[in-house]
Amino acid sequence: MSKAIVVLIGNNGTIISKHDGKNTTSEFIEKIDDENKQRLSNFFITNKKFPIYVILDTIDQTYKKKTYPLMRAFDLDKIANRDLATDGDKESLKNYIILKNNQSSNKKSIIKKNDSSGKIDCLFITSSKSENINNWLNFAYELPNRLIGIYMLPVESFNFFKKLIDSSNIFKNQTVLKIKEENIYCLVIQTKTGGSRQIVFSSSGIVFTRVVNYNFNEVNYIDKYFQDIYSTFEYLKRLYINLSLSQFEVINIIPESASSEIMKAKNVELNITNFTVKNSADILKFNSLQIENDYFDVLMNSVFVNSPKILKFSNSKIKYNENLNLILNIFFYFNIALILILLIVSFAVYNTNVNITEKINKSQDQMINAQNEFARVKKISMEGNFQQGDREISIERVADYGRVEEAIGPLTKNDFIKIYSSMSFTKNFSLKVNSMSYNLSGFNSHNSNTRNSFFETVFSGKLFNKSGDIETLFTEFDKLIVEMKKNLPNYEIKYNELPRNIDFNQKYFDFPFEFRISKKIFEEKNIENENQ
């Protein structure tokens, strides 16, 4: 249920009803003047969150139908607004609605449609602004409440009519009413603010309205009532040529006493359905409404508040006000969004700051630890001088010597004497050594990496064989090899084997040999140990 304050202005006075979603309170004011302005201001200020809707139940409302050729809605709106603006009356409240243009309606429909000719019917509604209305509007402009707009009671009462018909089908089976497309309905109401009124509806909306000059609380209204109903029907016959009385339904929302008087007339031509305001309110489930003297005003306001609005009338002030309100709303939500963004960004900045501080602190701790470790290592590192006896040698000098010794020191250890002495076993063999060479291979004197260097000793000469027998030569050679390996166990010995394809019938009294004896200076094991 919506919250709102409805100001229903009529020629007889004004009813202000406050709808807070649960309860409805109302007050009748005959005229707004300085006496009640202050009190009303206080009321509105107290309820400043409630938007204000103004409904006009005035006599001087005109409803004029106009037909346009079929065109786009945008173009129609432009033309209709131009027509409204150029009618000469600048002060009145004006607007229009497009009457339902049901292209697929059946042929029985009595509503004169221009489907075949492709035309659009518009209903132009005008209401002059009386002094009373102006006073109320000027008063409303100064209130803190939001003024939504101005509405016409006859137009907006279509919602009441539809709801009543829909709801009465459920509750009142004996008087089943249906909105039929071919029918026309005449709603008869009586308000405190505007008096009695006929509002004529088709199935899609208002057709016209007329204020009648009798009161159901007075006597002798029966004749006038039927006279007005018939004159309305006659007027409708001009609009809808084929309309018959059976297609014309009258719905009275009047006091029970008045409806019983009408029924006593036993008019069999007219289809009349009677409701009181009270039982209409009950049907529409507005049970808590305080209905005064069966006037329709408060019920109308309640239905209006809780229904979609049909046609809003506005003026430049209201439009300006509404635009400002729209901009305010946009800014309100924009500001909320900004506040959220601000909070998120603030959190992000705070979080980043905390993370940064933590990381910086952590890295500074790391730096301090590294500095401490550096200082510790520096302290324990062997810097300064090295004392050897009475000589003082700097550590750097020791390292210089050390690096050279490490690289080329082992190369200074010559073992050619050892190899030569180990070869003394050769005196037991019949051989002659012509030359011996002792070479350092894989050595570059300008490179400190001497790991792949090795000494190689080469003996070359002749092995003698007195008998000349090839078998003896092989035996002697093999013996020599065995002896050599035995005497030089830590050396690698390479030699040329005696060729196996030599002529066995020939005598060999000597045979040349060449032994290559080598040893790696830096054994792999030693290198690994050094690296460790």
């Binding site: 003024l147 900045v349 290592v377 210089d400 690096r403 010794e405 050619f416």
Partner: protein, 212 residues
């Protein structure tokens, strides 16, 4: 609602929006500023930590090396540590003396021009190294004398001497006439020897950074 009040309210809303946008802008700027300054600061500290760790590691490595070289120091004989430099006359004198001892004849030697060894090879910081290549040719009566001669020469030279090549070659066997000629000092020994060695000697000068 009064239009003035609405306008006033709108002005306040716009003011709040501007304030918010400014604050958000400032905060976003702060966010990026903090981040960028953090990255700079963090990188600086990280770089510093890395440098310190590298230095620590270098010192540790150097310390280990120093320990190793201090052990090695006592194992290096004084002859190697000598700072006498390369003196060709002294070398000649010494070779002649040893040659006489082993009846070595016809000994000749060549010494290449000593060069200042680049410090980039052995990374020597406090002392320079001289380098030369010596070639010694001689004749000996027999192989044992030749070997002993070479061994003695090598043992008597200071610094680091590394034999690149040592060859002895006997062209033929001695005959009776040879013995008479030898005793009459008419011929040299028929064992020919050739020794080539690299010679590294310390010199108390500032090391040369690079050699051409």
């Amino acid at each position: 609602m009064k239009i003035n009040k609405l306008k006033k309210k709108l002005t306040i809303y716009i003011g709040i929006a501007i304030l918010m946008i400014t604050l958000i802008g400032v905060l976003i700027f702060m966010y990026f500023f903090l981040n960028s300054s953090f990255i700079k600061e963090f990188d600086k500290i990280t770089l510093e930590v890395t440098n310190i760790k590298e230095k620590t590691s270098e010192i540790e490595k150097k310390s280990l090396e120093n320990k190793k070289y201090m052990k090695l120091w006592s194992q290096i004989d004084d002859q190697k540590k000598s700072l006498n430099g390369i003196k060709v006359d002294d070398l000649k004198k010494m070779i002649d003396t040893i040659a006489e001892k082993y009846s070595i004849s016809n000994s000749t030697f060549k010494v290449s021009v000593p060069e200042n060894f680049s410090s980039s090879v052995f990374k020597n910081e406090t002392i320079s190294i001289l380098f030369t290549i010596v070639e010694l040719n001689f004749n000996a009566y027999h192989d044992i004398k030749a070997i002993q001669f070479v061994n003695d020469v090598m043992n008597n030279i200071h610094g680091y001497r590394i034999i690149n090549k040592f060859e002895i070659f006997k062209e033929r066997e001695y005959d009776v006439k040879d013995y008479f000629d030898i005793s009459a000092e008419k011929i040299f020994g028929i064992v020919r020897g050739k020794l080539v060695f690299s010679w590294y000697v310390y010199k108390e000068t500032t090391p040369v950074k690079s050699s051409n």
